[in-house]
């Protein structure tokens, strides 16, 4: 049996994991009628109350954005969060995407503390392991500060 873990997204259809030359991206929706974006992707009615469309295109959202605000999780979150043992605190940021005019949450990659972050900092999307269970790596999107050298097992490998 090989040591390679199987890598699967922790949630289906919310992001691409990227491979080779293709960088990962969040998957949102854009309304065919009014152009409103939504994350996670909308499949019912458009969130714009003045638009009656129920037809959407699945689109990759901007891979880069700016930090709207940030914090960290010093205490282990309760289940269904699957925490590492021993628990390692991590940062969370709300990131503003300029083209879509929306703010998306995400964990910040390992090895970054709140002291390394500021509102307005540029970050880019990576895909990283959220937790490991029964030989499978469950993946999630995370934000990585652009102007920092952070060693992380991201999509680049």
């Amino acid at each position: 049996m090989g040591a390679e873990a199987i890598r699967v997204p922790a949630v289906e259809g919310w992001f691409t994991t990227g491979d080779g030359a293709q960088a990962p991206a969040l998957l949102g929706s854009r309304c065919d009628e009014c152009g409103t974006f939504a994350f996670p992707a909308e499949s019912g009615y458009c969130r714009n109350p003045d638009c009656e469309s129920s037809s959407f295109e699945t689109v990759e959202l901007s891979r880069r954005g700016r930090i709207w605000s940030y914090t960290d999780a010093r205490y282990q979150p309760p289940p269904p969060y699957v925490a590492a043992d021993p628990y390692e605190p991590f940062c969370i940021a709300a990131v503003e995407l300029d083209a879509e005019k929306l703010v998306v949450m995400g964990q910040i990659v390992d090895g970054v503390s709140v002291d390394d972050l500021s509102v307005g900092d540029e970050v880019e999307l990576v895909v990283d392991t959220l937790y490991h269970e029964d030989g499978t790596d469950y993946l999630v999107w995370k934000w990585r500060p652009v102007n920092r050298l952070v060693v992380t097992p991201g999509w680049e490998g």
């Binding site: 922790a10 949630v11 289906e12 009014c34 152009g35 409103t36 974006f37 939504a38 994350f39 996670p40 969130r47 714009n48 109350p49 003045d50 638009c51 709207w68 605000s69 940030y70 914090t71 960290d72 999780a73 010093r74 205490y75 979150p77 309760p78 289940p79 269904p80 969060y81 699957v82 925490a83 991590f90 969370i92 709300a94 083209a99 879509e100 005019k101 929306l102 703010v103 998306v104 949450m105 995400g106 964990q107 709140v114 500021s118 509102v119 307005g120 959220l130 999630v140």
Partner: protein
């Protein structure tokens, strides 16, 4: 105040807040009895019971109206049971008020009570990959304090708020709650003690984040006509407006438990943000403004969030809340005391009871009976809070 939208508050009652793990019904019953005694009315006088639900106490919690009615003894009274997260109590009040204003009943009892688990609120159990509340814990490890901390950091970045400012909110509320017999925490704290408490979600520390509590609160409401016939022995306090608004699209502030905000790509941000819209609707309904308010009970889920509320309920302009706090305007003795009860800081949150408890405090303040924490000459009071998934809640009262 427009007479046609007013209802009378004949009774207010509470079970004290704490952490005992006993059945929530027990706290609700104690509060209900307390409120009916205060009103000088009995359970047989109640025609409509409006329950605020709890989702962590099994089936009886989801049908709280009937649960409380059965516990008080079946009388055939009509009931409703509502859940609106932290706004549940206000929606229960709104339901009772609507029944009274529609002429469908004269006397209504509103009850909310909760028994809470220890530690962080976790989502309801099960493997539910289509529930954003479940997913935010699973995919992000985003607890409630995560969101409070995002707002707090934003205040620091935009307005120069400091950790000392946030700590001062806690110090103020701890002092307010010292003499409140219903409060769970009655202990003075210093800025140094707050800043020495462990960091939970930077920049918020343990003493700045509201605990989860057991508790129960109740109100007896009636038509104005019934109130004029019935002498309850206390100065008559009225509810003049109730706001249960939802956000206007696009809501550009990240809200619990969402992963993202609305997209403002089509229309730009909404003219009024969600939190400011909550009390604005109540003021408009009552035909008054924030300058008329003598005291406010706001949802201080975190110390920093109370500062956001100063601006959102119109006590000052954006970015001016820290100055209001530093000048003592919102402390007892100031122009408009905020959370004279001690707030969530001294109570902790008993979700379905909390918005009702805010109203109870306003009733006691307006009756001039809030011993040890009285706002002198209080005539108008407002509550503000916000429930998960976009439930606004504000109740405006006057004497």
């Amino acid at each position: 105040m427009p007479e046609e939208t007013r209802v009378a508050v004949l009774g207010a009652g509470m079970h004290e807040w704490g952490k005992w793990g006993r059945p929530f019904v027990e706290y609700g019953l104690a509060a209900a009895r307390d409120a009916m005694d205060d009103a000088g009315l009995g359970w047989r006088d109640v025609q409509f019971l409006s329950g605020a639900d709890t989702i962590r106490n099994g089936y009886p919690g989801f049908v709280s109206g009937a649960t409380f009615a059965q516990a008080l003894g079946w009388t055939g009274a009509r009931v409703s049971s509502v859940y609106a997260a932290c706004a549940s109590g206000a929606v229960a009040i709104a339901n009772a008020r609507a029944q009274i204003l529609a002429g469908l009943c004269d006397v209504a009892l509103v009850v909310g009570a909760d028994t809470t688990p220890k530690g962080f609120f976790a989502p309801v159990g099960g493997d539910r990959k289509d529930d954003p509340d479940w997913l935010r814990f699973h995919l992000l490890g985003a607890t409630n304090p995560t969101y409070f901390a995002l707002y707090a950091r934003r205040r620091m970045d935009r307005f120069g708020a400091t950790e000392e400012d946030f700590a001062q909110v806690k110090v103020k509320n701890a002092r307010h709650g010292l003499a409140n017999p219903k409060a769970r925490y009655r202990k003075d704290v210093t800025v140094e003690e707050v800043l020495a408490s462990p960091m939970v979600a930077d920049p918020l520390r343990l003493l700045e984040i509201c605990a989860t509590s057991d508790g129960g609160a109740a109100l007896v409401l009636s038509s104005m006509e019934f109130a004029r016939r019935h002498d309850g022995g206390s100065p008559l306090v009225t509810i003049d407006a109730v706001s249960t608004v939802t956000p206007a699209f696009p809501n550009t502030v990240i809200e619990m438990p969402n992963f993202a905000t609305d997209s403002a790509v089509v229309s730009g941000a909404a003219a009024v943000g969600f939190r400011p819209s909550i009390t604005a609707a109540a003021y408009a309904e009552a035909g008054i403004g924030p300058d008329d308010v003598d005291l406010a009970e706001v949802y201080d889920l975190s110390s920093a969030l109370e500062l956001d509320w100063y601006e959102d309920i119109g006590l000052c302009g954006e970015g001016e809340a820290e100055k209001l706090l530093r000048d003592g305007v919102t402390a007892l003795g100031g122009r408009v005391p905020v959370n004279p009860s001690g707030g969530l800081s001294c109570f902790g949150e008993a979700i379905p009871a909390q918005a009702i408890a805010q109203v109870c405090e306003c009733v006691w303040q307006l009756r001039d009976s809030a011993d040890g924490r009285q706002v002198e000459g209080a005539r108008v009071a407002v509550t503000a809070n916000q429930g998960l998934f976009g439930h606004g809640s504000s109740v405006l009262l006057s004497r």
